[in-house]
């Protein structure tokens, strides 16, 4: 259980722009902390089909339904405002 690789879903409007930047930031941060993680990117409209198989959902836009999974808003990673706090929150969740 302790070393189970966490699966993170990163979602944004189109699934290609802001989610790419956020996914990369999470990956880099995980590397620094020697954490293994599995990241999948998708559009916010596709979250439902991926939600069951992930441990954490990270999004840059509004997600109305997290399908029972923890959802963290990662827009601060794009605007830079409050970025460190959100990154820490994501990493802490991955470490759990």
């Amino acid at each position: 259980m302790l070393n189970k690789k966490k699966k993170v879903l990163v979602a944004c409007g189109t699934g290609i722009a802001t989610s790419t930047v956020v996914a990369e930031k999470i990956l880099e941060e995980c590397k620094k902390e020697n954490l293994e993680v599995d990241i999948t990117q998708c559009k916010v409209t596709e979250v439902k089909s991926y939600a069951d198989n992930v441990d954490l959902i990270v999004t840059t836009t509004i997600l109305k339904d997290g399908f029972g999974k923890k959802v963290i808003n990662a827009l601060p990673l794009i605007t830079g405002i409050g970025e460190d706090d959100v990154l820490k929150e994501i990493i802490d969740e991955i470490k759990k």
Partner: protein, 152 residues
């Protein structure tokens, strides 16, 4: 690929006077379309996406919008830029009910994402830089704006 390679003089507009975001979209779309970067369907893609997933970003100084849509509407990757002579209202990506007064718009046309991670990261880095935004706004014309981007 360096980010400066996605910016081109023919898809830059400075001091655009627009009444609303749709007008900005139309102007930038036309530049992208006329120069062969996007398909005709791109404009509708941009407008529709903006309605449900707005791209206004509330920053600390100047506000930016990063409209973009699905890769299927794009022929060749590029980033069109418009600086606005007066702010135009966009909705906030973080809260679609909230208005953001935007004065710089980066219309991103990507035909696929994973090879463009560095470019997107660089763009995000740039929009977080107050001085960069300030310098972009000060640029008097397309040549100058392009020079500013290449210097960062």
């Amino acid at each position: 690929m360096k980010i400066s390679e996605l910016f081109h003089k023919e898809i830059i507009v400075t001091n655009l006077k627009a009444e609303n975001k749709e007008e900005v979209f139309r102007v930038l779309y036309k530049k992208l379309f006329d120069n062969g970067y996007v398909k005709q369907s791109f404009l509708e893609g941009i407008i529709n996406r903006e309605k449900t997933f707005p791209t206004g970003l509330l920053l600390n100084s100047n506000n930016v919008a990063i409209p973009h849509t699905d890769a299927e509407h794009v022929l060749k990757s590029a980033i069109a830029v418009a600086t606005l002579s007066k702010p135009v209202i966009f909705k906030n990506m973080a809260n679609p009910q909230e208005d953001v007064n935007v004065n710089i718009v980066f219309m991103i046309a990507l035909n696929e994402s994973h090879s463009q991670v560095e470019i997107l990261q660089k763009l995000v880095e740039l929009i977080q830089n107050k001085k960069f935004l300030f310098d972009i706004l000060k640029a008097g014309g397309e040549d100058e704006l392009l020079r500013v981007i290449k210097n960062y």
